[in-house]
Symmetry: C2
């Protein structure tokens, strides 16, 4: 069965008239963990207090849930609630949000578009995972409508964004904090799980504003994440992609943290791209090591994302700016319509799977 | 008297063995507000719950405190605690932290240094207040030691930052949130008060990492703020500096939000610069309007800062990279020592006053 005991992502749900609390998805139902495990940490409206318990607790809790769900369901079954009776909420209280830029194909495509006469990759790109801080206060859960932003499009021109885009990404959720002044420890001791991210982007606003301090209003209007956080333990791992030059020691991979995850991007229910996460240049353990090497501390609920996932082939590109080559080569939909960037009413859904494990979806409609 | 009833900044203090709570500074004492006003909102460990009450409550509370302090001190005096008996804490729980780049002289100086053959200002600079998101989890209160960060200094080179710098700034603290999807309302309806900010900067790390997504590890290791938040009501206001071209309508000034604040930067107790806030090109109401014009929401505790305050004269520059022209022209200290960038053991203190009102100081020592 889909969403079986090998999967078991965590989320925050509510039943009508009741306060949000933590559950685990099992098939088409959600297990009310506070009730099933008699543990008040799951009565919180976010995953943060549970995540803060750390890796041993994550492992033991998962094992306990698997035991309950494969045991006598006449007991546990009472705490399984059909998904159509619940509302899903933002599962974490987000601390800081960092967005990286880890796909070589994505970074090269953007370089080719915007600096056609120069090397596609900037000199620093192969030496460190480039990243920046985004706005954590505008992170919303899948299903939240996304209002087309307005802003400065160029000198003296104000109006609605005409190049509204998506970025299909994976996000990594920090469960265990680290001390100010010291780099973080091992990846698996800090990172609780994985979510899907759509980093909505207003390309015209971004192009005008972004020098020299980076993206700001072109991104800060909304970032959507999936309601389910998949624990690291559920995900199959593979070696990361080869790197040249060899990274500095603090970025050296000490374990395999490549992830064999297939992503699928749909516009109005039609698949327009299938970006492969396995081809990402920088792996999430390297992102974490880089983000904290200067002594920056982690908090429970920090979120860091991979940046747009793009593969080398056209049908593997994770943003419309790449799929349509900045609007010059529209994509055709089955309806006969074409798209350069998003139109009002468009619904974008990003889904992902890792073998038998599904990471669910993040979806949003432009209003 | 200094720190009199026209001043009255808010902070969070604790007495030995007691939990942090909100107070107001009066002379060399702090008024315990939960005790003096019989209001539990001040028993919180941050200003956030009080700030969330909004502008009318800010005004009424200030008036009430002034009344108590100018009335019968035989009653109120019992709740005035000498400052040397308390520890000051980070006064707010920070939501998102945005840093702007509002000084024409600062932006021009950096342009001249790094792009000597081009126009000092980039094309967007006079059209919008350029800004970016910083790391809110590493904002610390004045007095917290700052550990020299390590990181990538250029391709293949890792080590301690050799160009550790300061940025003297004002920070604006949001008290009242705004809705996702709509621009914020009037400045004075959202912004509670002003703090001093030292945006510590690792110039070598920053120079290597910052293209194309902006500063990241060069800033994220620490940002210090003063323990006292001065309410807007205490600050004298002046017209903002003339702007050319006329800004777009959403950035048009509807009221005078220029601030006549004199800032003083000291290294090891010796004043090295006096940047005038009055000369800033973009005013804080314009920063707020810009930050939310795309529909980005505000949360209680959001902090946005002005960027380095620099005036046109050398002795008015608010960063060492400007004062020493990227290390080429060291400053001489009274001790006979020179400085290009900060050395271990250096203490940097930024103080500010607005007429008779003092904003206090933000201080930190490099370790």
């Amino acid at each position: 069965m889909s969403w079986g005991v090998a999967n078991l992502p965590y989320g925050v749900f509510s039943r009508q008239g009741q306060a949000p609390r933590v559950g685990v998805r099992y098939g088409d139902r959600v297990l009310d963990l506070a009730a099933a495990l008699h543990d008040e940490v799951f009565a919180a409206p976010t995953l943060n207090p549970f995540m803060a318990r750390g890796r041993a607790a994550w492992h033991d809790t998962r094992a306990l849930i698997q035991e309950k769900l494969t045991g006598d369901l006449s007991v546990t079954g009472a705490h399984l609630i059909p998904l159509d009776q619940v509302t899903m909420h933002l599962p974490i209280e987000v601390g800081d949000y960092v967005d990286f830029y880890c796909s070589l194909d994505h970074a090269s495509n953007l370089g080719r578009m915007f600096r056609p006469d120069a090397e596609p990759l900037l000199p620093n790109w192969r030496h460190l995972p480039v990243g920046y801080h985004g706005r954590s206060g505008t992170i919303v859960v899948s299903g939240t409508p996304v209002k087309r932003p307005r802003g400065q499009l160029k000198a003296g021109v104000f109006g609605p964004c005409a190049k509204l885009d998506i970025e299909a990404e994976l996000g990594f959720v920090v469960g265990v904090p680290s001390e100010l002044g010291s780099p973080a420890g091992a990846f698996e001791d800090h990172v609780f799980g994985v979510t899907l991210v759509n980093d909505w982007s207003a390309r015209d606003i971004q192009a005008w504003e972004y020098v020299p301090l980076g993206p700001f209003l072109g991104k800060s209007f909304a970032t959507s994440i999936s309601p389910w956080i998949t624990p690291l333990e559920a995900l199959p791992r593979i070696p990361g992609r080869a790197q040249d030059p060899e990274p500095l020691d603090y970025l050296r991979r000490r374990d395999d943290w490549g992830l064999d995850i297939t992503v699928e991007v749909s516009i109005n229910d039609e698949v327009v791209s299938r970006p492969p996460y396995s081809g990402m240049y920088w792996t999430p353990d390297q992102m974490l090591a880089h983000m904290t090497v200067n002594g920056a501390s982690l908090r429970v609920g920090d979120l860091f994302a991979s940046g747009t996932i793009s593969g080398p082939r056209r049908e593997e590109r994770g943003s419309l700016i790449e799929l349509t080559w900045n609007g010059n080569d529209p994509i055709k939909l089955a309806s006969g319509e074409t798209r350069t960037f998003l139109e009002d009413g468009d619904t974008v859904t990003i889904r992902a799977t890792a073998g038998d494990v599904t990471l669910g979806e993040v979806s949003g409609t432009i209003v």
